[in-house]
Amino acid sequence: MKPKLRKSNSIRWGILAAALLMMGIGIMNGEMQTVFEKAVNICLECIGIG
């Protein structure tokens, strides 16, 4: 594998690991619950009312 390809591959895997880590931290902090609470109620701003 050429160095350029190896470098871009490392970046990919690095970002993938960071993304999964961030998701994990967010879920553990309870962000999913906030998303759920927002999503199960009609968002008046989104539909142009509120």
Binding site: M22, G26, E31, M32, L44
Partner: protein, 294 residues
């Protein structure tokens, strides 16, 4: 039927499969709403089974308990690094709606947007992305509340997918219509008219989700590759690209939505979609083979 069109339609209907919601003017309240869909799809659409990533990001960032949303940015970075703007081309319901609108015959339809216009306005979506991330954090009031600015003042998907179906079936909501709804309807009409004339104008110039995914286009696991031994630089790929990408020069440009038109139309089969570092090449025929290193 074109494979991509089929996937777009199936994905749009599957993620908006709560049919009862359309009949009764109510939205789905089940556990799937914990999870965000990859494309732009308003969670106040009566049929929506999942959450909108942009709306959810603003909700989390506008909450008193959090700053930057790790869950949402992580999820979007995960999707982005896996496939870049493939989501825009294959999995976004609002992108699909715009493509359907572009099929409406019109004598003043533009095959290509003037290069100078495109070159300037394509950057607007990055400004919108920056505002989507920063505004909810920077404008929290003394009670810890903020406004989802993008959803409230810009997003035409909310008006089309959420506002219109809910207002048609819910008289209580209809009584609350005011200036904001007129503003949003105006923006929706402009978007619809623009989408009849130009291919996916909202995705090109406004969508913060497309802007975020585009940042991963160059390095995503799924990307396009041009075999320069086969490429004759005939320019056919650039000619057929509705997003105005010069594919043989920049196959992974920020604007590429991975629709695959260039792959299908390349006369020498020089363009292919590849997965990951091993350059596992996928030919338009569907057959796989290992390609040599870049």
């Amino acid at each position: 039927m074109d494979k991509r069109k089929l996937v777009q339609a199936l994905f749009a209907f599957t993620t908006n499969a709560h049919v009862q919601g359309f009949l009764h003017g109510k939205i789905y309240k089940g556990k799937l709403k914990n999870i965000c869909v990859p494309g732009l799809n308003c969670y106040s659409c009566p049929g929506a089974l999942g959450a909108c990533p942009i709306g959810a990001m603003q909700a989390v960032e506008g909450s008193t308990r959090y700053g930057i949303s790790m869950y949402l940015l992580g999820a979007l970075a995960f999707i982005g690094i896996m496939m870049g703007r493939f989501v825009c081309g294959w999995l976004c319901p609002f992108g699909w709606i715009q493509e359907l609108l572009y099929k409406i015959p019109c004598p003043c339809k533009k095959k290509k947007v003037p290069h100078k216009v495109n070159a300037v306005f394509k950057w607007v979506k990055y400004l919108v992305l920056l505002l989507v991330i920063l505004l909810p954090i920077l404008t929290v009031d003394q009670f810890g509340l903020t406004t989802p600015y993008f959803c409230k003042y810009i997003c035409p998907a909310g008006t089309l997918e959420g506002g219109i179906p809910l207002l048609l079936t819910n008289p209580t909501l209809r009584r609350a219509i005011g200036f904001l709804f007129s503003w949003k309807m105006g923006l929706l009409i402009v978007t619809i008219l623009a989408a009849v004339l130009i291919f996916r104008p909202f995705c090109r110039y406004v969508c913060p989700l497309g802007a975020l995914y585009s940042l991963f286009n160059l390095i995503s696991f799924y990307h396009y590759k041009v075999d320069h031994d086969k490429c004759t630089r005939c320019g056919k790929c650039a000619k057929v690209c509705k997003m105005d990408v010069t594919v043989y020069q920049t196959p992974n440009a920020l604007e590429c939505i991975r629709c695959g038109e260039c792959i299908k139309n390349c006369p020498t089969k020089a363009i292919s979609g590849v997965w990951g570092a091993k350059e596992h090449r996928i030919h338009p025929s569907g057959k796989h083979e290992h390609a040599p290193d870049i």
